[in-house]
């Protein structure tokens, strides 16, 4: 890695961090995953994970993480675009972030109130003659609140990559007769791909291990791997099984990274120079 750039020195504190706070916990988690309740070595936990209960849970975790990420992206992209065209865009961007600084549990309680039977939405529906809707404890409300939590994490990186796109470029594309959709697909999205990727990473990965709101908003109608780990650690106190699920989560994440990581060709053409 000897190169004339500033590379190696700047990486020192980062590597120290990886060694202390990433590698050490992984080793610990790996070690615990091999222990049974009595503290003896066993592969039982791994066998246990490969049963239908946990496999079903894995599938449902991925499905919901996928849904949350997709909805988040679809909502955030236009929002980021519009903000980037506003006059006080930095201010508007701050206003997107600020809600995330209020405690999540409190906001979740607020959502329980808002979405509940006697909440403002149902009161509104009732006042215009509709029947009250059961909104809490559905997978839709679960996805909705999750998207709410993750929106700033998606908007920020997308905004940063859209912001530097010059409007002239889009105008040029339009002037050359490209349709709106074509401009979006062939000009904007490819040019903002790095931001989109960052947003997906910042949403999909943590969405896999969501817990709390699976109980508060979905009433346990949705059970994710994160919930299961939480339960194993805190309720059953089976750290072995909890760690095993975590090992699988980490493996899944590595696989995702391998797939979404930079592909050879693209990397070569972009960084062709050595």
């Amino acid at each position: 890695m000897q190169n004339k750039r500033s590379g190696s020195i700047t990486l020192v504190p980062y590597y120290v961090w990886i060694a202390l706070f990433v590698i050490a916990p992984i080793v610990l988690v790996g070690y615990y995953s091999l222990l049974d309740l009595e503290g003896n070595f066993t592969l039982e936990n791994y066998k246990n994970f490969l049963t239908p209960v946990y496999l079903k849970m894995t599938l449902s975790s991925f499905w919901y993480a996928f849904l949350i990420t997709t909805v988040c992206l679809v909502v955030s992209y236009p929002a980021a675009f519009i903000i980037s065209r506003l006059k006080n865009k930095q201010l508007w961007l701050m206003l997107i972030i600020i809600p995330s600084w209020i405690n999540l549990l409190l906001k979740t309680y607020a959502f329980i109130g808002i979405l509940g039977q006697s909440g403002p939405i149902n009161a509104f529906l009732a006042s215009i003659g509709f029947e009250k809707q059961q909104m809490l404890f559905t997978s839709a409300s679960f996805v909705f609140v999750s998207v709410y939590i993750f929106i700033p994490f998606m908007i920020l990186p997308i905004f940063n990559s859209i912001d530097k796109l010059s409007p002239a470029l889009l105008d040029a594309s339009r002037d050359l007769g490209a349709s709106r959709l074509y401009t979006l697909r062939r000009v904007m999205i490819p040019l903002t791909m790095d931001g989109i990727k960052a947003g997906i990473q910042a949403v999909f990965i943590p969405a896999l291990s969501l817990f709390m709101i699976t109980r508060l908003i979905a009433g346990n109608h949705v059970i994710t791997l994160g919930t299961a780990i939480e339960q194993q650690f805190l309720v059953t106190q089976n750290w072995g099984m909890g760690s095993t699920i975590a090992v699988f989560l980490i493996i899944f994440m590595f696989i995702i990274m391998a797939f979404t990581g930079e592909k050879k060709k693209k990397g070569a053409s972009r960084r062709g120079k050595n």
Binding site: L37, G113, L216
Partner: protein, 358 residues
């Protein structure tokens, strides 16, 4: 670059200013080395005025720290690193903590106010002769419901009424394996401390039949939901039921005849204690009838303090929902620690039930 440097300096200045404010507000640091007592309790589970009164009476400075689950609290005590002098775990946790040798014995000589505690609540199975724990609050597990929201006239004198088809999608359950499986076991007149796998399986199968009626399996939010009328029925602890009834007078609480769980939160002295003497003073202080009554009034849970009952509102004390008769109490059972293996089994079965909810 200039912006970045400016931002870094600004943040550093803000932090320094805030830390200075904390320093001047926080009495702990100025009294470092003085007589300090660290109390580890649930949030909002003590009248803060009592802490001040204790500090004034004894000159001991109290640090109040909070936890949100027994198990997490136990992990912290076990791992060490911080000196808790008093903790308030539930009874099944006390058994585990005893086994792990995490508790110091309580010297009854130093707690003359122990005489105020109702003898019914002393010398129980989870801690014979109260070697390690002194009861703080107690309660039951039962059904809270809104009669005005029921389509059928149910009074929940039996657990089996929960399975009534008219309750489709109307029941909230607490997210706790022991309570929910225990309820199912009780409904079949089996022990809620059952360790028989066949019985547990039967209880789970019966629970799965309950799933059409279950609206959600949730935690402490149950209070807000029941008060708001989001559901008609909930399985919950009496303490939370008291909170709900306080906010919504339509609600009422009952313990079905087949019996149920009797729970305790208790004061203990963890082995991490650095001020064992102060801990005893604190326990004795909390057992004083006046203080116990004030605390029960603030928290809203049932006190085991016989002498304090006389000082409380007669309306509350005579209300069988809060203080059930001896007859009802005979049918209540305290959870035994069933060992990690069985607890694991309970939780696996409970998970299976939750997965059946969809």
């Amino acid at each position: 670059m200039k912006n970045l440097v400016k931002a870094i300096i600004a943040i550093a200045i803000i932090c320094a200013a805030l830390m200075y404010t904390v320093h001047s507000l926080d009495k702990t640091s100025s009294k470092a080395g003085a007589n300090v007592l660290t109390v580890y309790n649930w949030g909002e589970y003590i009248d803060p005025a009592l802490l001040k009164k204790f500090e004034k009476e004894t000159g001991i400075h109290v640090i109040y720290e909070t936890f949100d689950s027994n198990e997490a609290m136990m992990t912290k005590v076990e791992q060490g690193g911080t000196n808790y002098d008093i903790a308030v775990p539930s009874e099944y946790t006390i058994e585990q903590m005893k086994d792990k040798k995490l508790l110091l014995p309580v010297d009854h000589q130093k707690i003359p106010n122990l005489k105020n505690i109702d003898a019914d609540f002393l010398n129980l199975d989870f801690d014979k002769k109260n070697h390690y724990s002194i009861p703080y609050f107690w309660g039951t597990v039962g059904v809270v419901y809104n009669p005005n929201m029921l389509t059928k006239n149910l009074d929940f004198s039996s657990w089996n009424q929960l399975w009534d088809p008219s309750l489709k999608g109307e029941i909230l359950l607490v997210d706790s394996a022991r309570e929910v499986l225990g309820m199912s076991l009780n409904s079949m007149n089996l022990s809620l401390n059952s360790t028989d796998s066949a019985e547990l399986k039967k209880a789970t199968d019966k629970l799965i039949k309950l799933s059409p009626n279950v609206k959600a399996v949730i935690g402490d939010e149950v209070t807000q939901l029941m008060v708001n009328g989001d559901a008609a029925v909930a399985l919950t602890w009496s303490g939370q039921a008291a909170d709900m009834m306080y906010d919504n007078e339509e609600l009422t609480y009952t313990v079905p005849d087949e019996g149920s769980n009797l729970w305790f939160d208790n004061m203990v002295i963890p082995k991490t204690s650095k001020n064992v003497d102060g801990a005893h003073q604190f326990i004795n202080f909390m057992l004083d009838p006046k203080n116990a009554a004030q605390n029960a009034d603030y928290v809203g849970y049932s006190t085991p303090n016989k002498a304090a009952l006389k000082l409380l509102d007669a309306e509350v004390v005579n209300d069988e929902r809060y203080y059930p008769s001896a007859e009802v109490r005979d049918n209540l059972h305290v959870y035994k620690d069933l060992g990690k293996e069985k607890i694991g089994e309970y939780n696996e079965l409970f998970l299976k039930f939750k997965m059946s909810l969809q």
